[in-house]
């Protein structure tokens, strides 16, 4: 365990913040950060404009927290939108100096700055105190709270991440959507899933983790008394029915749920994430831990109880299919 962690731990990152990196076009950003030299984080950015999804900030902050403060370097940011990094608390969470100042008349918008969550009680406090900063209607707040709770609890319970979960979120007025990013530098999905299920690659592990009822804590259907293995499936389902993006990145593996075509009206869920419209990659730079990004478009948010009815149907069917797949077959001569 220690060797596994250490061998992946000492990597240096050179990160370039592009002018745009959202879930739809995040792939080049993830493909191109440089992990070549040890123990230093160098951050540079587009000098005209920086516009990035919260998941990019969560990823950088999570990485930065694994590196000594004095070994985090960043160039002087020139982009007009550089204040966003300050607003979201990137320099504060990494405890590094910045010459960026924010003047009072600049609108703060609706956002949750980078926050580190390490315990169950910190998570409950975060949901109670921070989600209201997004000023959502009760039904919408419940959906966002649901996503945050399930994702962060996964980190607290399974990731063995010293720094816990790093999370931030932002409301986007133009698209009327909430975008959330969560990152950890723990053991990653493959390590967790492999405790109970064989998965050769990070991508296979991600595929298993997204299926309902598959958990690293047991092979038993129904899970353990504390884990069912359904959290990620629920979140992918929420994104899927709302035609939103959802990404999950762990080790070398990357899965992206793509937006459904708007012509498809039927509420259709798949237990196998590879049957959804998606893209995948099993050769990204190694991320030691797990990164999740999700977009939730608020005016498309289906009533949660309708979504749950669909989840109930697909969930039971998937367990039944898995059980049937284990049936012994008669031998005929």
């Amino acid at each position: 365990m220690t060797n596994y962690m250490d061998s992946r731990y000492h990597v240096d990152m050179k990160i370039y913040l592009p002018n745009s990196a959202f879930l739809g076009n995040i792939d080049p950003f993830l493909r191109h950060y440089d992990t070549s030299s040890p123990d230093v984080l160098e951050i540079s950015a587009n000098n005209k404009w920086i516009s990035v999804h919260p998941v990019v900030l969560s990823l950088i902050a999570a990485l930065g927290l694994t590196i000594k403060q004095e070994n985090i370097q960043h160039e002087k940011f020139e982009a007009r939108s550089k204040h966003y990094l300050m607003r979201m608390g990137l320099f504060k969470i990494l405890k590094i100096a910045s010459d960026i100042t924010i003047t009072e008349h600049e609108p703060a918008g609706r956002f949750i700055p980078l926050t580190q969550i390490r315990t169950s009680d910190e998570l409950t406090k975060f949901i109670t105190e921070m989600i209201p900063l997004l000023h959502l209607k009760p039904e919408q707040a419940n959906t966002i709270g649901y996503i945050v709770s399930e994702l962060v609890r996964n980190v607290i319970e399974h990731a063995k991440a010293l720094n816990g979960a790093i999370i931030c979120a932002q409301y986007y007025k133009k698209s009327n959507s909430i975008r959330i990013g969560i990152a950890d530098t723990g053991v990653g999905i493959k390590y967790t899933i492999n405790q109970s299920h064989p998965a050769e690659t990070d991508l296979e592990a991600i595929q298993l983790a997204l299926r309902p009822g598959i958990t690293g804590t047991t092979r038993k259907e129904g899970g353990t008394e504390q884990n069912a293995g359904a959290g990620l499936f629920f979140i992918k389902s929420i994104a899927s029915v709302n035609r939103d993006f959802f990404i999950i990145y762990s080790g070398n593996g990357f899965y992206k749920l793509l937006k459904k075509q708007s012509t498809i009206q039927k509420l259709q869920l798949n237990s196998n994430p590879f049957k959804d419209r998606h893209s995948k990659n099993n050769a990204l730079p190694f991320w030691k831990g797990t990164v999740v990004g999700v977009d939730i478009t608020l005016d498309q948010t289906k009533e949660f109880s309708i979504l749950l009815k669909a989840i109930r149907e697909i969930y039971s069917k998937d367990i039944e299919d898995r059980r049937k797949a284990r049936y012994k077959k008669p031998q005929f001569a």
Binding site: L123, E150, S305
Partner: protein, 98 residues
Amino acid sequence: MKQIDIFDKAGEFAENKDVARDIRVDEIIPALERNEKVILNFEHVGAATQSFIHALISDVLRKYGIDVLDHIIFKSCNETIKEIINIVVEYMQEGIGN
């Protein structure tokens, strides 16, 4: 008859699995052991996660079998919470015995 008010322990958004485990271990199971009926009262609870409901009842279903549902009443649940309880009860029934 033992009534457990979920709102008092888990708040308006029931998501803390540690709280759910404490309710299960300290209140639900001892009441069932005393052959008491258990009322899980969800009044004022606006939402609950599947993980919370799983931590609350899955082990009870596994330990005592599905007939234990004759001894548990889920009170004042909104549609969302009802649906989540249905999901957990169904997948536990599918999975019991495997």
